[in-house]
């Protein structure tokens, strides 16, 4: 039983970070229809900027986090302007390749600036463990789940309650109608990329604080795909549910089955969902019109 609870803890914390990263992905897709293969690298940039702020420059975390978010937002805006704007209306494969190219640029850039050796971990999350009876729950994971939950709730509220959030949803639904109502589609695109970068950064900061800062963090971004497909490409609650499910499933398979199977589980889930219910658990079925 203790094993189960511990695995659940680890699974939840990974799942929460996944959900944060996936949220940014869904955001960009909903608003501008772009598939962002560079989401993992946004995570990476966030982690490294935070590391630079907190470990290299020695700033306290309440300055480091806004600094990282600010850098990420600027990055998101620049990317939207220089790479995505010229590619509006291009074929899906071109946009996919553009974001893949972008991911290489970011990955290479981070390595050029910081080198490839793993760096010292920013010690911002509390260490030690919370002991409940026989169970040891590492504090950093518990706090990570709480922070992620807060961030996810904040974003959900933003989408449903705030004006800008609703504007984003409007543009995702029907660009032309949104334009006629007076919503600036350009601003919405920029905003969605900036927000996506911000969520990825928060996820990156959490990830770096738990496991350390290394270029391999970007690999986390690949698992985002099973999450969004499972949850539904255009559904925010779906993403959260998808992230949690994949995180838990991976942890359980790793703990109870082993043999490295946990690495491939997200992709098997992905294939199954595509066969059975391609729009995901919460996604909307699209009818293709000619």
């Amino acid at each position: 039983m203790t094993n189960f609870i511990q695995l659940t803890m680890f699974g939840l914390s990974n799942g929460a970070i996944l959900a944060l990263a996936a949220l940014g992905f869904v955001l960009i897709f909903k608003a501008s229809g772009v598939i962002n293969f560079a989401q993992g690298e946004f995570l990476l940039v966030g982690a490294y900027v935070f590391y630079a702020a907190v470990v290299v420059l020695g700033l306290p975390w309440y300055l480091g986090v806004p600094a990282a978010i600010a850098v990420a937002v600027v990055l998101g805006l620049i990317v939207e302007r220089t790479v995505l704007r010229p590619m509006l209306g291009a074929e899906p494969i071109a946009i996919i390749m553009a974001t893949i190219g972008l991911s290489s640029v970011l990955l290479g850039g981070v390595q050029v600036l910081f080198g490839t050796a793993p760096k010292a971990r920013p010690e911002v999350l509390p260490s030690g463990s919370l002991a409940i009876g026989d169970i040891q729950l590492p504090w950093d994971r518990v706090v990570a789940v709480l922070i992620a939950a807060v961030a996810l709730t904040a974003f959900s509220l933003f989408f449903t309650r705030s004006r800008h959030g609703i504007a984003i949803r409007a543009v995702a639904d029907d660009q032309q109608a949104a334009l006629t109502v007076g919503i600036s589609v350009r601003r919405v695109f920029a905003l969605s990329w900036a927000l996506a970068a911000a969520t990825a950064v928060v996820g990156g900061i959490l990830l770096a604080s738990i496991t350390g800062v290394a270029p391999t963090l970007a690999g986390f971004g690949l698992v985002v795909f099973p999450v969004v497909i499972l949850g539904g490409l255009d559904s925010v609650p779906g993403t959260i549910v998808g992230g949690v499910i994949i995180g838990l499933l991976t942890a359980y398979v790793g703990g109870y089955v082993g043999g490295g199977l946990q690495q491939v589980v997200p992709y098997v889930v992905l294939v199954l969902i595509l066969l059975v219910r391609p729009y995901g658990l919460f996604g909307q079925a699209r009818i293709r019109r000619v």
Binding site: I35, V83, P86, M87, A90, P92, I93, A94, I96, M97, A98, I100, G101, L102, S103, S104, V105, L106, L107, G108, G109, Q111, V112, G115, T116, L222, F225, P226, I229, L233, G259, G260, Q263, V264, Y267, V268, L270, V271, L274, L275, P278, V290
Partner: protein, 353 residues
């Protein structure tokens, strides 16, 4: 016969026979002949480092052709190139090593097996399109690599399979010089057959599927069959490239067939030009020459900037990404289009248009 003026205004034909030729104009024939001469001369003038690059690029042409057939001509995005290369390589390696099959047979078998695997894997993918297909192929790639790394009984798992040097009729293919000819023959064959494929009805059906699937279906094209054919043919080419890699390098490890490799091949066909056979060749040459040139430049600059050598791979990654992004923004139809524009300008000169 083309019109005999210094400024060509077009390619005109006066007989069906000349219209149906593979190479359509006199100038193109000359260019092709020159290219052939250069290719035949290369191994005698190139230094070993560049000859290795040439051999690697040659094999890449074959795989990239396969991918272009699938993605450029049939419109099915695939991130699973690495996985199919692995299938081809391991099949050929295992048949040679464990079943004692002579190499040419094992290579042929690898092509067939990979084509079958491609056809099989395409069945669940028939319903998917665009992004979903891309993601499904990503999943397939990761699953194939996982299977290779863990199916130890068959593939040796994480360990590399070591193959002896290729030996045909007592002649040992030891150096790049020897392999160059083998690779050249296969590459030329692959290019010619691919080019021919799209002059046939079957090839046109594939392009119809890419352009407007619903209209194609309305016209009587069997979409499912066309897609499965595309996957099978494409996988066959990729399997051939994989088998050649296995025997050329003599080492088969899963590390050669990762997602990065799939991305590289997508980059090759985008940079070269989607839906263009010649573009595939340009793209492969470009994407293999570029890192080699960067490495060599880095080595030369090493004495002035010693720390550069540490950053070199990261710089290569950045330049790789930049090349893709710049091509997509500035010339999304790739090197092939650039070459067409150059030809057009030259042909029309001194007129502008």
């Amino acid at each position: 016969m083309t019109t005999a003026t210094a400024t060509r205004t077009g390619t005109y034909h006066r007989s069906y026979r000349s219209d149906q030729r593979l190479v359509q104009s006199h100038a193109a024939r000359v260019r092709l002949l020159l290219a052939l001469v250069v290719l035949l001369a290369l191994p005698f003038v190139l230094e070993p480092f560049w000859l290795t690059v040439a051999c690697q690029a040659g094999i890449a042409v074959i795989a990239a052709l396969g991918l272009n057939i699938l993605t450029g001509f049939t419109g099915q995005i695939s991130l699973a190139t690495g996985g199919f290369l692995a299938v081809g390589a391991y099949t050929s390696a295992l048949l040679t090593q464990r079943a004692g099959l002579p190499v040419p047979l094992s290579v042929a078998a690898a092509v067939l097996v990979t084509a079958a695997a491609g056809a099989l894997l395409s069945l669940p993918a028939l319903r998917l399109r665009g992004l979903y297909l891309a993601i499904a192929s990503l999943a397939a790639q990761e699953i194939i690599i996982f299977a290779v790394r863990n199916w130890e009984f068959v593939t040796g798992g994480n360990d590399a399979i070591s193959l002896p040097r290729l030996e045909l009729f007592g002649f040992v293919f030891r150096r790049d010089f020897h392999w160059y000819w083998v690779i050249l023959v296969f590459a030329v064959l692959a290019v010619v057959t691919a080019r021919n494929l799209f002059r046939t009805g079957a090839g046109r059906q594939l392009m119809a599927v890419r352009d407007q699937e619903v209209a194609a279906e309305a016209m009587g094209v069997d979409i499912a069959r066309a897609k499965v054919t595309a996957f099978a043919v494409s996988s066959g080419y990729i399997g051939l490239a994989g088998a050649l890699t296995a025997h050329y390098t003599g080492i088969v490890t899963w590390e050669r067939f990762t997602l990065e490799v799939s991305v590289l091949y997508l980059a090759i066909i985008i940079v070269g030009g989607l839906g263009s056979i010649a573009g595939t060749v340009y793209g492969a040459a470009f994407m293999f020459l570029l890192p080699a040139v960067i490495t060599q430049t880095g080595q030369r600059l090493q004495s002035s900037y010693p720390s550069l050598i540490e950053r070199l791979p990261a710089i290569q990654i950045m330049i790789f990404g930049l090349v893709i992004v710049l091509f997509l923004i500035l010339e999304p139809r790739g090197l092939d289009r650039i070459w067409q524009r150059v030809k057009g300008t030259l042909g029309r000169w001194p007129f502008r248009y």
